[in-house]
């Protein structure tokens, strides 16, 4: 095997979910899972089930709201969408992430 799949980093799943909903609008859990896997070009090892406790956690904090609806192929599904405070949270977390990864890159480059 040339490349191994990496586990989702602790804490980054929330960020990925928020970002997905921000750019795609309301989505159901399966859609979010597909989108994350697609964007990571299948390099990310995501147990799709772990998405649901994460979605609940985000909803409890008031960053998402959920509503039952009907999917593209006429299936009943729960749709999640970002709230205003969720969008603000996404901005903050994205900034944190950028700062952190820039710092780690800097450290890796200096010999």
């Amino acid at each position: 095997m040339a490349t191994s799949k990496s586990e989702v980093l602790q804490g980054t799943l929330d960020l990925l979910v928020l970002k997905t909903l921000d750019s795609m609008g309301p989505m159901h859990g399966f859609g979010i899972a597909m989108r994350i896997q697609q964007l990571s070009q299948d390099l990310l090892q995501l147990n799709q089930g772990t998405l649901y406790p994460a979605l609940l956690r985000l909803e409890q904090r008031g960053w998402l709201v959920s509503k039952w609806g009907v999917s593209e192929n006429n299936r009943k599904a729960k749709f999640y969408s970002l709230t205003r405070s969720g969008r603000k949270q996404l901005e903050e977390e994205a900034e944190d992430w950028a700062r952190m990864s820039a710092m780690i890159n800097r450290m890796l480059r200096t010999s």
């Binding site: 159901h28 399966f30 089930g49 772990t50 649901y52 609940l56 192929n73 299936r75 009943k76 599904a77």
Partner: protein
């Protein structure tokens, strides 16, 4: 901080809608798996293969539900309630034994309480009307030629009461062995 409060409220509310939310969860996960199977079928997998693949990438439906439940309600309160319900059920299942156990406990606790209040009344707080129990002292007399404490005569007590400034007041205690004088000092 606000998020913590919101989470708490959310979890609290979930306690009262357990059945509804449980159905919701089952429905949501079922719909996820069905969509996954459908997608796999459209890729040309066989029915069985599609289902197996869907379950594999989902990664444990029951574990997911367990994790979800821990996140949803207040697990500590829920398990306590469960234990209580279980206990009551066990009591009801063997009423004879339960009755015996309850009787034993009643007797044990009752006897203990009775003995303790008796001991407290007689030994620990013999003069309940005295407010500063910790200042109670026993006064006895001494007499030449006697090794132990001796009694105090009534005139002596009257003298003490009149002229002793160390002690507020005297209580006279009469028992089979004679008289002991108790008093409260300041």
């Amino acid at each position: 901080m606000r998020e913590h409060f919101r989470t708490l409220m959310h979890r609290l509310a979930a306690l009262f809608r357990r059945r509804r939310l449980e159905d919701d969860l089952a429905e949501e996960l079922r719909s996820h798996l069905e969509m996954a199977v459908e997608l796999n079928l459209s890729k040309g997998m066989s029915e069985e293969e599609a289902r197996r693949e869907a379950l594999k990438s989902f990664g444990g439906v029951e574990q997911t539900k367990e994790l979800y439940r821990d996140q949803r309600g207040l697990p500590m309160i829920e398990t306590t309630l469960q234990d209580l319900r279980f206990g009551l059920r066990m009591l009801r299942r063997s009423p004879g034994f339960s009755l015996l156990a309850i009787l034993c406990l009643t007797l044990g606790i009752g006897a203990n309480a009775a003995v303790f209040s008796w001991v407290e009344g007689i030994l620990f707080r013999p003069y309940p009307a005295v407010t500063h129990q910790e200042q109670l002292l026993a006064v006895t007399g001494t007499a030449r030629g006697e090794t132990g404490p001796t009694l105090i005569s009534w005139p002596d007590l009257l003298d003490l009461q009149r002229s002793c400034t160390l002690i507020d007041s005297f209580i006279v205690n009469k028992n089979n062995h004679g008289e002991h004088d108790f008093q409260r000092g300041e």
